[in-house]
Symmetry: C2
Subunit: 410 residues, 2 copies
């Protein structure tokens, strides 16, 4: 299909890593990006769709739009097998793509750690459909609750005290205390929000001081935070804890952990701990023409453990891998990947966030504005930025959340 | 549940008519609005969701938000039966609501006029799910087409030359000529858009001159308009016409007609032509405490035919019925409904629209700006207005459509 002499590069997955690689390589190689969706999802703001702050379309971006200036091609589809002898990847559309280099950047899926009932009764937080399912479920249970003007309660349990769980619980608390209180005062006063964390503190990647501040802010917002509380089993309306006790749970939101996307197991490549076994160069062991990126790459960090499954690692590795392929094209040696940790941030609610960048630690309004600025002006692009600013400005000024629609069924 | 002495009014359906009635009556009566969704859909802009111009959430509005200042209550649910002896309506949640007056304003559903294959193979345009299904189907077929860099074509057929079909076809043509051309030039040049109308002209409610202008504008935009062309059968990838000929159709969009919502048949009330048999007062014949509104009301107009199933009739009847119930509360006589036709407008594309208000006829840019102004400042409210202006401004300035996401499945 292509008469070019440029090496062929196929990139599996159009997340932060894959798109960075495509943009870096698009003019130097014959690049084809493959993704099962025709849009990229801005995962860091998924919880805002779940809690009716943002329109679902505003955290998605058409991949063809993102690639327009890059020179890269796009195919919608899922890889079903790789022929390493002929260097081809077959998609579910039956199309076969030839490659000289294969970049694997398919991201991650929710993991239930083998805990029974999670798959059946808990709601994941890894894509737009799951986010809309959470929004619909919360609003539907709220509409159910409105019918009972007695002491009936609604219990929403968020499992996982990392950034996703903290941001979800905080945003939920504000949804209940703001718009739902205006929607139906009695019902809103009968909603409990739990945040369960198996470890001894929230946001373990932050300093203990910031973890403590996060805990206190969430508690002030009405969230019932339970530390050192592992989940043993999830059932219909009931979550059983490790100590054998249980809490009522009409809605369970699973933000406890991720693992590499299951599709990496279909590529005939070495996988360990749900990630590709990778050299420090991001090349897959014994498959030097295959490159792992982000959540799919089991690259070992300075601390001897695999690098964390977070967006900055994927973004840096995407650019890094593209640069290495360019070096190979020019006949140069390739380098080892070095992760530059630029710090962490998490937002808890209005004027409430924590930021930790090297020696700098921020919390409260200053951290919140830093978070806001970074997300709007650095991470989001074009129309999505305008739409997000519009939604956020409205929410900020009116304390309302205009996207409370139950849209998961007819 | 209520100790009030006010008469109880149950309003079935929170469309334009039902919400107008609730806002007019909310303080004078004990009003409960029932709808199967927790949001109102702004139907006139549904085609803009289908063609990736607007985010789905932006043409929806939470009903509780719309009712906040009205004093009316809300229940999410569908009526399954009415007990006329005890004056109660039972919802699918099993809740039973008592009423002194019942207002039926549940709107309409797509009708296939009994044409075989429409239900199985054509996509309706009556709710947000259908609009998203159309968007997803068009974008998915486009992604399929991209794989064939040959003379393979994609054929999209819009059936129905009323405002919905005209607006859909025009917006589709602009999607193909703009963003899809940038996404993949070759594929975009291999898409055909048909608009089929059974009658002799488009937009029959407008003057023949405006119909003719609409036809020429659509043809200039590349739409293949076929007048006097009734559909006999729809099959997989094939639409057969009344004369026995057929056209290829990968996507068929059904904008040919509506009928009253099927749920009105569950209310034990007289129904004729899918509408309640109504007196000139909007009261259902022999059921003076039941009121029909909009698409559900078979009120006869000055021309001896039932009033058209359009939003202005529903809005005026909603307010009218509420006022009559208020008159009854005050012991006054009730009046006959008189429809005030304020004119029609339809947008065809950028700077292209037709407007007909009494003697006034507008077309081209002036009509388009009038349409834009009316929709933004008169019809839409609050956050939706801001979000819509943001999306439209972006589309207008960049010729892009940022909501091209295929979101109907995982």
């Amino acid at each position: 299909m292509s008469g070019s002499n440029k090496p062929k590069v196929v990139i599996l997955g159009a997340g932060f890593g894959g798109l960075n690689a495509a943009r870096e390589l698009g003019k130097s190689a014959d690049v084809t990006v493959v993704d099962r969706h025709n849009y990229q999802t801005f995962l860091p703001l998924l919880y805002q769709v779940s809690t009716a702050s943002l329109a679902a379309d505003h955290i998605a971006y058409p991949i063809r739009g993102a690639l327009r200036k890059s020179g890269a091609k796009f195919r919608m589809g899922t890889p079903i097998s790789v022929d390493h002898k002929n260097k081809t990847v077959k998609l579910d559309s039956s199309e076969v793509l030839h490659f000289d280099h294969l970049i694997v950047s398919m991201g991650s899926a929710t993991t239930d750690f083998g805990i029974p009932g999670v798959e059946e009764f808990a709601l994941g937080m890894k894509n737009i459909h799951e986010a809309l399912a959470i929004r619909s479920e919360i609003m539907r249970r709220f509409e159910d609750l409105v019918r009972f003007e007695d002491e009936t309660r609604l219990s929403i349990v968020v499992v996982g005290g990392g950034p996703t769980g903290v941001e979800m619980a905080g945003s939920l608390a504000e949804l209940v205390k703001g718009p739902l209180r205006h929607d139906h005062y009695h019902a809103s006063k009968h909603i409990d929000i739990y945040l369960l964390e198996a470890g001894p503190r929230l946001l373990p990647m932050f300093t203990p001081g910031l973890s403590e501040k996060t805990l206190r802010q969430l508690e002030n917002m009405g969230v019932k935070v339970m530390l050192n509380t592992a989940v043993k089993k999830v059932e219909w309306r009931k979550t059983t804890l490790a100590d054998g006790s249980s809490i009522t749970s009409e809605v369970v939101i699973w933000a406890a952990g991720v693992k590499g996307a299951p599709a990496i197991n279909d590529l005939s490549l070495p996988v360990k701990g749900n990630r590709l076994v990778c050299e420090p160069t991001c090349q897959v062991a014994n498959y030097p023409y295959v490159w792992g990126v982000g959540d799919n790459a089991g690259v070992i960090g300075d601390n001897g453990r695999p690098l964390p499954m977070v967006a900055p690692v994927a973004m840096q590795q995407g650019t890094f891998v593209a640069k290495q392929i360019k070096r190979l094209i020019k006949g140069k040696d390739i380098q080892k990947f070095k992760y530059v940790d630029k710090g962490s941030m998490a937002t808890i609610g209005r004027h409430k966030a924590v930021v930790q960048v090297k020696g700098l630690r921020l919390w409260g309004p200053l951290a919140w504005f830093a978070w806001l600025f970074l997300h709007v002006f650095y991470l989001m692009g074009g129309q999505k930025r305008i739409g997000t600013i519009a939604d956020w400005t409205w929410n900020y000024l009116t304390f309302d959340r205009g996207n409370r629609h139950i849209m998961d069924s007819l």
